[in-house]
């Protein structure tokens, strides 16, 4: 009988003790933000949506080879000899014409390995995280702007897709 009451007493004592610790936080400012109205500032190195500055892309396909989930599809063809030479912003000659550069963001695992592999630093991960869409097909981003000259028989640079 005595232990019964002692247990109740001890229980109340520890609860009062915890309440003393917890009640101090009543007077502290809250740490949460009301999301759609207020937003955190994203850090500079945030790894979210991929973006390719296709003007600087030389079409080497290294990003597609490093990607662990095979979410990048690159198709290129050689430029003709009589065509005027094209250069990327850092002076690298663009010997290949990139006519397909698709990234399936629904497959992307946001590891960032492709951005480390990119020799011209044109493939970057941006801090943009609000890009939900209604259809999963809209998650495939088409970056290439140029059109192929020879449509048939062109070589694929990336692993084939199933």
């Amino acid at each position: 009988m005595l232990t019964y009451f002692r247990n109740i007493g001890q229980g109340i004592l520890t609860i009062v003790n915890s309440m003393a610790v917890a009640s101090r936080h009543l007077f502290k400012p809250s740490v949460t933000l009301q999301y759609p109205k207020e937003k955190w500032a994203m850090p500079e190195r945030s790894r979210m949506r991929l973006h390719n500055k296709v003007e600087d892309c030389i079409g080497c396909g290294q990003c597609a080879r490093t990607c662990p989930t095979d979410c990048i599809l690159v198709k290129t063809e050689k430029r003709g000899k009589e065509e005027p030479p094209v250069f990327a912003a850092d002076g690298t000659a663009k010997k290949l014409r990139t006519y397909v550069f698709d990234i399936d963001m629904a497959l992307c695992c946001y590891c960032g390995l492709c951005t480390f592999a990119c020799p011209t630093q044109c493939l970057v991960m941006t801090g943009d995280y609000e890009y939900s869409v209604y259809s999963i097909d809209e998650h495939i981003y088409h970056f290439a702007k140029e059109k192929p000259l020879i449509p048939a028989g062109s070589k694929e640079q990336s692993p084939s897709k199933g």
Partner: protein, 373 residues
């Protein structure tokens, strides 16, 4: 514990959607009234074919997949893998990389133990510590996000170094955080660890004796909670842990018998403070250098096999890699600490009450992503 069952056994399913099962785990409980006669864990709901899948991915591409095994301590998961590949290839990393890896791994350990303590309190019925632990963990995740750009799945370690150096000034931020955080552990103790109701629910429950723990192959805080002084960081140092001054915390059986749920919980709380000590020492030792100095251009390990074990927050994590000289692993086997403790779980549950099953399950701190892989 010897219990005479009445013979009227009822089967009760706990999970897979039970919030206290820390993931997707189904427990098949054979109950006699309120007493649990047997608890059979059914795992595999989160099976993602990790080991088979990585045989088709090159060595560098495996790192993001190791992150996804134990998503509460992804930094420690990938550390174990890159150390295994470096051992296979014979790469020595420079000092700055070593110390940065230790800082990040120990911060990851603090974050993981905070989840363990917070969710354990939540399981037992105390909600406040859960929020406090998550608030402090958020600061650590902010450091990680600032360093590598991701909050949970870091992909920060790469074979031969780190993907990026830390931003200047992060050391001071971490030190400032530790100054604020260490007194918070006392608050957590007052709020949860020394709470009479919490002790009643956890002490003398789910006893795992030292002999049994060793024979089941239990590692990590669960083993140390049973009073066995074993820590891979001390007993088989990797990454230069032998230079650091820290204690291996073991359960002492303050409340009831040794190896109870409370002992396992308390080992984690004490380990958090030890990790703070290691982080402080590592920051003091940090010297300038290039973290990508030893990163090989092509990762193509020689033929051979390697086993590397590291101490991750949940115990001893082992990677066994067989290489056939190609750029993809021939076989990769993971020795998961949660999987081994799951085998001891059945023994711990026998003869306890149904409510104690939740206590025991929370105290062994499993992550189902790592068990099922």
């Amino acid at each position: 514990m010897e219990v005479n069952y009445s013979g009227d056994i009822m089967t009760l399913n706990m999970g897979p959607q039970h919030p206290s099962t820390h993931g997707v785990l189904r427990l098949e409980l054979k109950t006699d009234g309120e007493i649990v006669a047997d608890a059979i864990p059914h795992i595999g709901y989160l099976h993602r074919c990790f080991e088979k899948h990585v045989e088709n991915v090159d060595y560098a591409g495996v790192v993001p997949f190791t992150d996804r095994m134990d998503y509460c301590a992804a930094m420690n998961m990938e550390l174990g893998y890159v150390l295994a590949v470096e051992k296979l290839m014979g790469i020595e990393v420079n000092e700055r990389t070593r110390y940065l890896r230790i800082i990040m791994a120990e911060l990851g350990r603090i974050a993981s133990h905070l989840i363990a303590a917070g969710t354990y309190g939540n399981d037992i019925g105390s909600f406040t510590p859960f929020l406090w632990c998550f608030r402090d963990r958020e600061d650590i995740l902010d450091f990680f996000e600032e360093t590598c750009g991701a909050r949970l799945l870091y992909n920060y370690n790469c074979i031969g170094g780190l993907t990026q150096d830390i931003k200047p000034g992060l050391e001071d931020k971490i030190l400032k955080f530790l100054d604020r955080f260490e007194p918070e552990v006392d608050n957590l103790n007052r709020l949860l660890s020394d709470n009479f109701i919490f002790i009643k629910r956890t002490a003398d429950v789910g006893i795992l004796s030292p002999e049994k723990a060793i024979s089941y192959g239990v590692t990590g805080p669960n083993l140390r909670g049973s009073g066995v002084r074993f820590d891979v960081r001390k007993d088989e140092p990797y990454l230069g842990y032998e230079e650091f001054d820290f204690d291996v915390q073991v359960g002492k059986g303050e409340h009831g018998r040794l190896g109870s749920c409370w002992d396992r919980y308390m080992v984690r709380i004490r380990e958090v403070l030890e990790s703070c000590k290691i982080v402080r020492q590592a920051i003091a030792k940090l010297s300038p250098g290039d973290v990508r100095e030893n990163v090989p251009k092509r990762i193509k390990p020689p033929k051979g096999e390697v086993y590397m074990r590291t101490e991750c927050p949940r115990g001893e994590l082992g990677y066994y890699i067989v290489s056939d000289g190609s750029p993809k692993p021939y076989r990769l086997k993971v020795k998961s600490p949660c999987f081994t403790v799951m085998s001891a779980f059945r023994d711990m549950c026998k003869g306890t009450m149904i409510a104690d099953v939740i206590s025991i399950l929370g105290s062994i701190d499993i992550v189902l992503g790592e068990i099922d892989r």
